[in-house]
């Protein structure tokens, strides 16, 4: 198959951080991550841009709960709520 098979997640909890992603590659940028008990994912809004989504900044430093899809190492959220 490939990494593109989406896995539905609901009420996934984690802390939101910022950090570098894709160092040295054409994807390098500062990205928003969600640190969960099961791993660390690049967080995006499903309806938002893949790069420089300023609307995600409001979650940085917070514990959130998220519904959406895991696609490889990327979490595409269609609901993100601060819970702390």
């Amino acid at each position: 198959m490939s990494s593109a098979r989406p896995v539905r997640v609901t009420s996934l909890r984690g802390r939101i951080t910022k950090g570098m992603y894709g160092k040295g590659s054409k994807s390098e940028r500062e990205a928003v991550f969600m640190e969960t008990a099961n791993g660390r994912y690049v967080l995006r809004r499903k309806a938002g841009p893949a790069f420089d989504d300023t609307k995600l900044n409001q979650y940085v430093g917070h514990e959130v709960e998220c519904d959406g899809f895991l696609v490889g190492k990327t979490l595409l959220g269609d609901r993100i709520d601060v819970v702390d």
Binding site: A4, G24, S25, S27, A50
Partner: protein
């Protein structure tokens, strides 16, 4: 015998589209074969899960449709038995899987640097070497391969039928039809892209930068038939992005390509994930840009499944393999032959294949019918009137394939590769100092950690005295963020690849953030 084999999986197609949908696909495939016959190409559809068909080529049918090893073994049997001039894979990866090559640039201890555990792609299907996840086994491609994808997650076949219609109705166009181009680059990469575009088209006068260009092109630039795009891209995203300092405006979207891509368009796209066939149906987002190109009559799209690499200025990695593909199309090659030559040229150009080179080779692949010749290039060879044109073309094609086979075998036998990590061990003081200096020069910490990769496959010189070794003993690779950018919103990372020969650092390359 057959010139072109179309491979797919019957059970997967029926499971996805039902019997009626499968029948529609079968009808369209019959028309593809009939249209190919008129062009002098004998085509055959082969379902790799069909026991009878597979028995005829003396191999087992594929049982697990999505198993890369089984599908690779079945494709190898197709080439051992039929040895077609063209292989067209029919279906997206939920019908026919990509091969699961390991990404040699991935580090489990630093997964945020390059998060791709696998460098998915179709490269191994184009190689004689048996199944393996080690990309260094596949540096000698010899086969002409392309993929005509359906939509991942779809339950009705209209998308695939539209692509098959393109394969049925395609016409060779003139060189003049491909004279105009779309050259689109993130503003920060304009030096590199200008060089790439000049190499392909002889000038870079029409290069568009994003920003300010995009996502819409009201002046019709998307209607040019040759496209070279060097922007950012993200996984499962129907958008590409430009870049100016710390801003990443949208440069192209699936929506902005609709009714703008003209029949016959051929694209080479460097963007990360630029040819990722993600599941837009389940995600309820727009289909991938690459699939929009093909739906609108685009003939071919050469792109990457995963994160791609290239230097900030000058050309390397993704820049080169994309350039070669378009140059070969402009020279009159079929799409599949252009992709095969691009792969061989890319391997041939590198003295050794380091981790970044190997990932580049593994991740770029062709979407489109590989037998399509976009440009009708007159041949200097005259065919006597008593020889059927199709027979003559078949002979010339066989000649070209033989040449590519020899070139691929030569690369397999001679190209040193560095895909496996080896213990760094205790470095000489001078080696340590050299690596520290390079790290410092690149803006990294002097104590930057380097990972060592062993070089294998270096041919021993025979029959002549050799005073100077032509192959390094190891590569040292470091990826990091320059100190000058720490604390900035936009950090421009670097990947350093340094060559070591018997304890001495003899050269290095620095890949900058693209």
């Amino acid at each position: 015998m057959y010139d072109k084999i179309i491979v797919s999986n019957r059970k997967s197609l029926v499971g996805k589209y039902g019997s009626d949908g499968f029948e529609e696909i079968e009808n369209a495939l019959a028309k593809v074969a009939a249209a190919d016959e008129k062009r002098g190409i004998r085509s055959k559809i082969l379902y790799l899960d069909d026991k009878t068909s597979m028995k005829q080529i003396r191999t087992r049918a594929v049982i697990n449709a999505l198993d890369p090893r089984e599908n690779k073994q079945a494709i190898d049997a197709v080439f051992n038995s039929i040895n077609p001039h063209y292989l067209m894979i029919l279906g997206a990866p939920d019908i026919f899987p990509h091969q699961d090559l390991d990404n040699p640039a991935y580090r489990s201890d630093r997964p945020d640097d390059d998060s791709d555990v696998q460098a998915w792609g179709d490269l191994p299907y184009a190689c004689d070497a048996p199944y393996s996840r080690d990309p260094s086994r596949f540096v000698g491609p010899t086969r002409v391969v392309g993929r005509l994808p359906d939509l991942v997650g779809a339950n009705e076949p209209s998308y695939l039928i539209s692509l098959l219609n393109t394969a049925i109705e395609y016409k060779r166009l003139t060189r003049e039809d491909y004279k105009s181009y779309l050259g689109l680059s993130a503003e920060v990469w304009q030096d590199s892209t200008r060089l790439s575009i000049s190499n392909v088209f002889g000038n870079a006068n029409k290069l568009l930068l994003a920003p300010p260009s995009g996502p819409d092109y009201p002046d019709g630039e998307l209607r040019n038939r040759m496209h070279f795009i060097n922007c950012h891209g993200g996984s499962a995203s129907p958008e590409f992005y430009g870049q100016h300092e710390n801003s990443y405006p949208i440069s192209l979207t699936t929506q902005s390509t609709i009714r703008e891509i003209v029949e016959g368009t051929v694209a080479a796209v460097e963007c990360c994930y630029g040819a990722e066939l993600y599941d837009a149906v389940t995600l309820a987002i727009d289909q991938p840009i690459c699939q929009s190109y093909l739906q609108q009559g685009g003939y071919g799209y050469f792109g990457s499944t995963t994160i791609a690499y290239g230097p900030e200025t000058g050309n390397g990695a993704a820049d080169l393999i994309c350039q070669y593909f378009l140059q070969n199309v402009l020279d009159g090659a079929s799409l599949g032959h252009a992709a095969l030559m691009a792969r061989q040229q890319f391997v041939g150009r590198n003295a050794q294949m380091d981790a970044v080179d190997l990932k580049t080779l593994a991740q770029f692949y062709l979407l489109g019918d590989p037998s399509i010749h976009p440009i009708d290039e007159p041949s200097a060879t005259v065919v006597p009137t008593d020889v059927a044109p199709a027979d003559a073309e078949r002979f010339f094609r066989a000649e070209r394939r033989e040449k590519m086979k020899l070139a691929g075998d030569f690369l397999t036998q001679t190209k040193p590769t560095a895909s496996k990590r080896v213990p760094t061990g205790k470095l000489r003081k001078s080696t340590k100092a050299a690596l520290s200096n390079i790290a410092k020069f690149a803006g990294l910490e002097e104590k930057q950690t380097f990972i060592a990769y062993g070089v294998k496959g270096a041919p021993a010189s025979k029959g002549r005295a050799t005073k100077i070794k032509g192959t390094p003993s190891r590569y040292h690779v470091a990826i990091g963020t320059p100190q000058r950018d720490v604390g900035k919103k936009v950090k421009r990372g670097v990947a350093i690849v340094a060559k070591e020969l018997d304890g001495h650092i003899i050269g290095y390359r620095i890949y900058h953030q693209r």
